[in-house]
């Protein structure tokens, strides 16, 4: 997620507002270019306090926060919303994903036709059947057919019988195959139901992914405790004019609710110390409040049975209260449960994709499982196989997945076989041989591996002599 950049709203007199020094400090540094992190560095304030100031300034109408890249505003970073409904988002109006030079190819197609073909072709991997046909998820048979006919008339090779279509020919054939697959699936009641289940699965996990992504953003914007401590010390150093102090206040002490203190200072150093402590206390109590807020949100999600949202909220809460071991335990517990759910869903999706021979999609889905559980043997092996099968699968990644699958469970011969196959496909004969030999240590009778070793030896001999 991209940081939004705070920008001053002109024609507003800052002096008419009641601002505390932190706010004042922050607003003085806002120049329309610095983001949250940069402002934290500039001011030496922890990011969360800058964040809080910015929230306040925004509420007061003094600043606005704009996304420097996207025109669409992403959801607020701190809200932990339940996953969005299963409806599928319309295709985003993005920049063309093809190289405009491709439009200049000389062939018998009108320019507009070329543009539509390229536009669809290069987005094929990202479009579900509804989006590809340009119909809504609840479209009836008739509108699906109408949409299909329109695209079929565009992409069927007979439309340009015996004409020169150049590199557009294979693209049109691929498009025609995909729109026909989409049509045939969506007009068949049973197949459509199965596909919709798959899409719901995807949408649900996508919602979960978004939840997790937001939780991760929060973790980025609130630095780990070590960093906070380092920052505090840096601030103290500056306030003390370079005098070093050991970080005496243990974290536990800092978290302890502050008791009102009489501001009587023996020296200026004491005064600074007290100021610093008060500031810290304020910050710490704010953090605790946040932690409580997120814990509550997590409990609510849990009550609704939304484990993923709960895990995310707990995750955020633990960052505000890093030393609450009970909270940490709850986080771990829900996270494990949420992961199980996510992984189950991903496996269902990947299996469906494999059944329909959509290897690129299957590879991506398996990789998502790996992201959650890096040593998931089946997902690593699945990702390796899918990348191996995909038309332009990344063989390097495929090999990495196969290696991970082997590292997690070296006793599974299939992982060795796929690794050897990947190396072979990539032309790395020596590596294929090593992989095959490693596999033979597990199952010395495996004929496939024996074959690879034998052939690798032959190739080595041939190139050597």
């Amino acid at each position: 997620m991209v940081d939004k950049i705070p920008r001053l709203i002109s024609n507003v007199d800052v002096r008419t507002f009641k601002l505390d020094p932190t706010d004042g400090f922050v607003i003085a540094r806002i120049d329309g270019r610095l983001g949250l992190k940069a402002l934290a560095l500039e001011t030496g304030l922890p990011e969360f306090s800058v964040e809080r100031s910015l929230d306040k300034l925004e509420q007061l109408g003094l600043i606005e926060r704009v996304d420097p890249t996207a025109s669409v505003a992403p959801p607020p970073a701190t809200s932990v919303a339940p996953p969005p409904a299963t409806s599928v988002a319309p295709p985003p109006a993005t920049e063309p994903e093809y190289d405009p030079i491709e439009l200049e190819e000389v062939c018998d197609l009108p320019l507009e036709q070329k543009r539509r073909i390229l536009d669809l072709y290069y987005r094929l991997d990202d479009l579900d059947h509804y989006m590809l046909l340009g119909v809504s998820a609840d479209a009836d048979k008739k509108s699906i057919k109408r949409a299909y006919f329109e695209l079929a008339a565009l992409t069927h090779p007979d439309r340009y019988f015996k004409k020169n279509l150049g590199s557009f020919q294979p693209k049109m054939t691929a498009l025609f195959a995909r729109i026909t697959e989409a049509h045939d699936m969506l007009v068949d009641r049973d197949k459509r139901a199965e596909y919709d289940t798959y899409l719901r699965e995807v949408a649900a996990t996508r919602g979960m992914e978004a939840t997790i992504a937001r939780a991760q953003t929060v973790s980025v914007s609130s630095p780990p405790p070590d960093e906070i401590r380092a920052r505090k010390e840096a601030l103290a150093r500056r306030l003390l004019g370079g005098q070093t102090r050991s970080s005496s206040s243990s974290s536990l002490a800092a978290v302890r609710p502050s008791s009102p203190e009489v501001p009587k200072f023996a020296s200026s150093a004491d005064a600074v110390d007290a100021l610093k402590r008060r500031y810290e206390e304020r910050a710490e109590s704010a953090m605790l409040a946040q932690a409580r807020k997120y814990t509550q949100s997590a409990e609510e999600s849990l009550a609704k049975g939304d484990l993923v949202a709960a895990a995310s909220a707990f995750g955020i809460a633990t960052k505000f209260a890093p030393n609450d071991s009970a909270l940490a335990a709850r986080f771990q517990e829900t996270r494990t449960q949420a992961s199980v759910i996510l992984i189950e869903s991903y496996i269902k999706q990947a299996e469906y994709e494999e059944r329909n021979q959509h290897w690129a999609e299957a590879a991506r889905t398996w990789q998502k499982v790996v992201k959650i559980q890096a040593n998931h043997v089946r997902a690593n092996a699945g990702a390796a196989r899918a990348l191996f099968q995909a038309d332009d699968g990344d063989l390097h990644q495929a090999a990495e997945h196969a290696k991970k699958a082997i590292a997690s469970d070296p006793s599974i011969v299939a992982s060795h076989v796929i690794l050897a196959e990947i190396y072979l496909k990539a032309g790395l004969v020596a590596s294929a041989r090593r992989a095959a030999e490693a596999g033979l240590n597990v199952d010395s009778a495996n004929a496939m591996l024996q074959g690879i070793v034998a052939r690798a030896a032959k190739t080595a001999k041939a190139t050597g002599g």
């Binding site: 329109e150 090779p157 019988f161 074959g451 690879i452």
Partner: protein, 607 residues
């Protein structure tokens, strides 16, 4: 732009059409008929006859007259359908060198595509005469349920006839194109096509943007009007046998006369309630007495004779709707195609099944050729924005261990398409696999049609089940099937394009094409002969009719007697020329005949 004709190459009749000024029209033959019998004959003198001429002499030359060759095209000698045809046909069918079927006419063997080529050539000539220019390109229709071998054989026939068959399309699809042409409709249409030799049912969607999408297609390539004729023949033969104890089947000429009479009776019963079959002197008995066949056939009797055949077509319709997952009420229009749909009982059965009155707005004999010409124009002429999305009528796959058929492309898959499946070795240390490409619906490989085969060698010696072989089927828009097998490990690849499986080798097709070239000239001169012969025959007949009168008038004078002798000589010469089939001589004699005729008429008129 080069003109593309559309040809409906039918079992009993063929028809040719072209799109002219944006509208498809049927081209009539020289006799003014819009359809031409798909009949080919070789006369005693070795001349080839096609169409009406062939049909007219069929009774007297039954053994050398081929009809319904379409039922044999692309079929293997061993197929039950061929066995069936052998029993039913008056011409001789023998086995060819590639387990294919050959037809013997006057001691010469012809491939079935060669016979069909003669019909296609006739259609080509009809179009050329009409257009006044040479035609090289054609769209030819075949029954939807034809398999790849039959389609390929039909294409071969086109090639032999000197036609570039730019596309083979299905008859019911062509009918739907014709039905939907120029109408801005979005409809789901069922085409019920009951022709002379085949039955087809197709369900199509006619949609916006000029798109015609076939949803499902099915049929029976050995169920047609001919089978109903056969029932009538059986009925006549059995009746005759009961009465006289003689089996008329033993006599080829009698059989041909029966065939004609049965077809005629069947057609008549579409408009009348009963008809008489009258075949005098059909055969003679042991005592050399001539026997006559005379029976009355009622419409009801005909319906009883053919009821199970009609039932079969309805069963196929039912199955097709089930396959397409369509309810009867989703069919918005039923289009009737093929001569048999004139039969009231068939119309009623279709109406009863689909629960709606069938559309009779299209001409059942012409609609297919019109559709073919429309497809020809759509492919080659940018002004006709029409796209036909056709399907595979049969499943495609390969034979696997244990003689099983493993399907790769299911029936009713929209083309172009491609599918991949991974297979493995079935024996230990197997170093080669044979890929048998098959087409059909049966799980047992032997029940399906073999389209071609190839061998992938160089596999690693390994226990069975360990070597992976990837098999890919691809069908392009032309319906051409290519199959590729790839050894995953070695990357070795083998592929074939499924062609030239019509039982003829490429060389044979080439030879036949060369033969056909000679034949084209041959055919044109023989047409001229027919024309001149007719002219001469007519003059001779008229002269001979006047002879007694003229003889009476001029017999008194020497001049008159001389004139009579001269006239007799001219007629005699003309007869000889006709017998010798000498066109130049006939032309010469026609002049004399015309003079004599004029003179004779003058003599008669003066008195």
């Amino acid at each position: 732009m080069e003109k593309v004709i559309g040809i409906d190459l039918g079992t009993t009749n063929s028809c040719v059409a072209i799109v002219e000024n944006g509208a498809p029209v049927v081209i009539p033959n020289r006799g003014g008929y819009k359809t031409t019998p798909s009949m080919v004959a070789v006369t005693e003198a070795g001349k080839r006859l096609v169409g009406h001429i062939a049909k007219r002499q069929a009774i007297t030359n039954a053994e050398n007259t081929v009809y319904a060759a379409k039922r044999l095209i692309g079929r293997k000698w061993t197929s039950p359908q061929v066995k069936n045809s052998i029993a039913m046909s008056s011409y001789r069918i023998v086995e060819g060198p590639h387990r294919d079927v050959r037809i013997v006419l006057r001691e010469k063997e012809f491939g079935v595509p060669e016979i069909s080529a003669m019909v296609l050539q006739e259609m080509k000539v009809i179009a050329e005469d009409y257009l006044g220019e040479a035609v090289h390109k054609a769209v030819v229709t075949v029954p939807a349920y034809f398999n790849d071998n039959q389609r390929q054989a039909t294409k071969d026939a086109g090639e032999i006839a000197g036609l570039d068959v730019i596309r083979i399309i299905n008859e019911p699809t062509a009918a739907a194109l014709s039905y939907g042409f120029g109408r801005n409709v979005e409809k789901t249409v069922a085409v019920y096509d009951f022709g002379g030799g085949t039955f087809d049912i197709s369900v199509l969607e006619i949609g916006a943007h000029g798109v015609f999408k076939v949803i499902a297609t099915a049929g029976d390539t050995f169920l047609g009007g001919e089978d109903i004729d056969a029932r009538v023949i059986d009925w006549l033969v059995e009746g005759f046998k009961e009465e006289h104890g003689i089996d008329l089947r033993q006599d080829r000429m009698a059989l041909q006369r029966l065939k004609d009479a049965a077809e005629k009776a069947k057609c008549e019963l579409s408009s009348v309630r009963e008809t008489e079959v009258n075949l005098p002197f059909i055969i003679s008995n042991g005592r050399n007495e001539a026997l006559h066949l005379q029976r009355t056939l009622t419409r009801q009797e005909l319906e009883e004779l053919s009821s199970d055949l009609i039932e079969r077509t309805i069963d196929i319709c039912k199955q097709t709707l089930e396959d397409a997952k369509l309810e009867k009420d989703e069919i918005e229009e039923v289009v009737l195609v093929g001569g048999m749909t004139r039969m009231p009982k068939i119309q009623a059965s279709v109406e009863q099944f689909f629960e709606k009155e069938p559309n009779k707005g299209v001409h059942p004999d012409e609609v297919v050729a019109l559709g073919a010409s429309i497809q020809g124009a759509a492919l080659t002429d940018d002004r006709h924005q029409m796209v036909l999305l056709d399907v595979t009528p049969h499943a495609l796959g390969i034979m696997t261990f244990g003689s099983y058929f493993e399907e790769l492309i299911p029936q009713n898959t929209t083309v172009p398409t491609h599918r991949t499946k991974i297979f493995t070795t079935s024996r230990d240390h197997q170093t080669a696999v044979k890929i048998l490409v098959m087409q059909g619906e049966s799980e047992r490989a032997e029940d399906n049609e073999l389209l071609g085969e190839f061998i992938l060698t160089g596999l690693r010696r390994a226990p069975k089940g360990t070597v992976e072989i990837e098999v890919t089927f691809e069908i392009n828009a032309d319906g051409i099937v290519s199959v590729r097998a790839k050894d995953f490990e070695t990357g070795l690849e083998q592929s074939i394009q499924v062609t030239a499986t019509s039982g003829l080798t490429r060389d044979e097709i080439k030879t036949m094409m060369d033969d056909a070239k000679g034949d084209l000239v041959d055919r044109r001169t023989s047409e001229e002969f027919e024309a001149k012969k007719q002219e001469a025959d007519k003059l001779i007949a008229e002269i001979e009719k006047l002879f007694p009168q003229v003889e009476q008038i001029v017999a008194s004078s020497d001049f008159g007697r001389e004139a009579i002798e001269k006239a007799k000589a001219i007629v005699g010469k003309a007869r000889t020329a006709i017998e010798r089939r000498d066109v130049a001589a006939i032309k010469e004699q026609i002049e004399g005949l015309t003079r004599t005729h004029r003179m004779f008429k003058g003599v008669v008129a003066k008195t």
